[in-house]
């Protein structure tokens, strides 16, 4: 074994080379940029090194707004989308008729274009001088006051963003959860039935633990996905997210690089590294919790 070690490395070489060039090197590079003040990618020059970039980013009100938005988005959409997906999956797996139809319908958002759907959402929610939009029409029916969800108060805009995000991420979760539910051996349910277990208890004590690995998988990827949200906000509120107070961390990074106020790769790198640190921490916590509560 020992002498043949180099052979193993040889087999791994292509993969390691690709990963090194396209993943490890950029990551390290971003890390380095984040400590270089006023780095210019064209001239490859910078003024000095230090923590100045971090200090600037952490004091930038736009960045703080983006962090706040992202955290709210994560805190709302991950639990809501996972919970709803679970409900819908359980419903789907307990019906017989039209099951395939419903499954297809629930999966449709996954194959539709994010930006096109964003446009539709905007039309549904937007209030213009000519029309209040469909959603406001419904609110009006119940006697509520119309609100501009796209250009109005902060909470209304956040609501649309969360709604839209949940709508976009649900199909994948439903797909995963319905297949997880289908793969639970029917004998467990039969055994529980013979022993007179109530439906609720079967769900809580058998179904949930059995599919818990999949639920945790969805929560972890859901967190990561929500932290990296950007295109959803653009689809609804347009590219000037800072003005709309709807920027996300990734949006901030993008703006710093290419936006109207852009051309600051150092600040972008620092923001990206902060995002990386947040995601890493949350994912580690998630994994720790899942190790403790997934039992097999």
């Amino acid at each position: 074994m020992e002498q043949n070690n180099y052979k193993g490395w040889l087999y791994l070489l292509p993969a390691i080379a690709f990963l090194g060039v396209f993943m490890v090197y950029p990551l390290v590079d971003v890390f380095v940029y984040s400590f270089e003040e006023g780095y210019n990618s064209a001239s490859q020059t910078f003024f000095g090194t230090g923590l100045y970039n971090y200090a600037y980013v952490l004091h930038d009100p736009y960045f703080l707004q983006a962090v706040k938005n992202t955290l709210i988005l994560v805190a709302i959409t991950v639990p809501v989308s996972t919970g709803l997906a679970l409900l819908i999956s359980v419903g789907l797996s307990s019906i017989q008729k039209l099951k395939d139809l419903f499954q297809t319908v629930y999966f449709l958002p996954y194959v539709t274009n994010t930006l096109a759907v964003g446009l539709v959402f905007m039309i549904l929610f937007k209030k213009t001088p000519y029309t209040d939009g469909l959603v406001n029409l419904i609110i009006g029916l119940f006697g509520g006051k119309s609100i501009d969800f796209i250009d109005g108060p902060y909470w209304a805009k956040m609501f649309v963003l969360c709604f839209y995000t949940v709508w976009v991420v649900m199909p994948f979760k439903i797909l995963i959860l319905t297949s997880a539910l289908a793969s639970v051996n029917q004998d467990y349910y039969n055994a529980a039935r013979v022993d007179g277990t109530s439906k609720l208890r079967i769900f809580g004590r058998i179904t949930l633990p059995m599919i818990s690995p999949m639920i945790f998988y969805l929560v972890i990827t859901g967190f990561i996905g929500a932290f990296k949200a950007y295109s959803d906000a653009v689809a609804i509120f347009g590219t000037n997210l800072n003005a709309a107070e709807m920027n996300t961390i990734v949006g901030y990074v993008y703006d710093m690089l290419y936006g109207d106020s852009g051309g600051y790769p150092s600040y972008a790198s620092a923001a990206a590294i902060i995002l990386f640190a947040i995601v890493l921490t949350i994912t580690c916590i998630n994994l720790m919790i899942s190790k403790r509560s997934v039992h097999y």
Partner: protein, 367 residues
């Protein structure tokens, strides 16, 4: 508790478009299982054994017919109200729960007045665990147990609520040969200690014969014969039952009855008074052969296998349906085997005649 099935039929709708008629898994079952006995439900794969078990447990509803526990009609009762314990072929132990919690699971379902205190539950769990001798493994997860231990946990879980009927679906099929022997003795012991009416499904005739008080032999959804194992073995009602029971299997010949004598080929091998003249299928148990130099049945000797207590004479005969005739002869007679031919006399009680068309038994007088 007595279990009675009355004209129970179970049909499944056909899934294939080419053969749209229903699949009849269980066809017009009528039998009565006496209280406190161990019953083996025996038959080849796909003969409806497991369906019968599911019908008794209530997991499936019969298409027609009634099922009684003692005098109570339970046909329309859901499984949870029947008070049955069911052990699944794959045990269906909850993988995320420890042995203790697995066994306790059924007890925690009791509601209202039947609800038990924590102490009583613990006690009952321990009692059931002791009965199947797994009380040392209570904190383990099923994945940390061997197949035999998992099997015991499954039985304990089925027994803990003191069911009126215990049902086991192929309980030993996932165990290795040695463990199977040991576990079937265990099963017998547990059944005798608890006196719970127990029905177990198996395709292994040896397993069923060795521990059952009574066996029910099934084929293609129809009950063939019910009775104590020895009786079914000694007195099969048809060719199927005769072929299905016994190792080595029964030897089947083409033969003919003429004037009270059984002919195999040109040789008159046995007096069969009372049987009408007709072509027949002859079944001869391996122990029904007697080596005799002037015996009426002559076969071509292939080899002799020595098994210590007995010897097994393997031979061939042109009219035998088996590829080889196996006869079990006590070892003292070994000296008389030799040469290309071997001659047998037959023990009348070990020879069965069957109708050629239906396979039904033709009886003759044995003195």
């Amino acid at each position: 508790m007595k279990v009675v099935l009355q004209n129970v039929t179970k049909k499944f709708p056909s899934r294939s478009k080419k053969a749209p008629e229903d699949v009849i898994a269980v066809n017009d079952f009528t039998f009565e299982i006496p209280d406190g006995q161990l019953i083996g439900l025996l038959g080849p794969s796909g003969c409806g054994k497991s369906t019968t078990l599911n019908l008794i447990s209530g997991l499936q509803k019969p298409t027609s017919g009634r099922i009684f526990f003692d005098t109570n009609d339970v046909t329309d009762l859901p499984p949870e109200n029947r008070g049955v314990g069911l052990v699944f072929q794959n045990y269906a132990l909850y993988p995320h729960l420890t042995v203790r919690k697995n066994i306790m699971f059924p007890l925690q379902n009791f509601k209202g007045e039947a609800k038990l205190t924590k102490e009583v539950m613990e006690e009952k769990v321990l009692e059931a665990a002791r009965l199947v001798q797994i009380d040392g493994l209570m904190e383990r997860k099923p994945s940390e147990l061997s197949g035999g231990q998992q099997q015991r946990v499954a039985i304990a879980r089925a027994l803990v609520k003191m069911p009126s009927v215990l049902l086991l679906d192929e309980p030993l099929s996932n165990l290795d040969a040695r463990l199977r022997l040991q576990t079937r003795e265990e099963l017998r012991r547990i059944q005798q200690e608890t006196k719970i009416t127990t029905i177990f499904v198996t395709h292994d005739q040896e397993e069923a014969m060795s521990i059952s008080d009574m066996i029910i032999v099934m084929s293609a959804g129809v009950v063939q014969q019910i009775g104590p194992p020895q009786q079914v073995y000694d007195d099969p009602v048809n060719l199927f039952v005769a072929k299905f029971l016994g190792t080595p299997p029964i030897n089947v010949f083409e033969g003919e009855v003429r004037e009270g004598k059984l002919y195999i080929g040109q040789e008159a091998v046995l007096q069969v008074p009372g049987a009408a003249d007709q072509p027949v299928t002859v079944g001869i148990r391996p122990e029904g052969f007697v080596l005799r130099e002037d015996g009426p049945l002559s076969c071509n000797l292939s080899r002799v296998e020595v098994m210590g207590r007995d010897i097994s004479v393997v031979s061939t005969h042109p009219l035998c349906q088996n590829t080889a005739i196996r006869s079990i002869i006590s070892a003292e007679n070994q000296h008389s085997v030799g040469g290309p031919m071997v001659r047998f006399a037959l023990k009348p009680a070990k020879v069965f005649l069957f109708r050629k068309d239906s396979g039904e038994r033709i009886r003759f007088e044995v003195d």
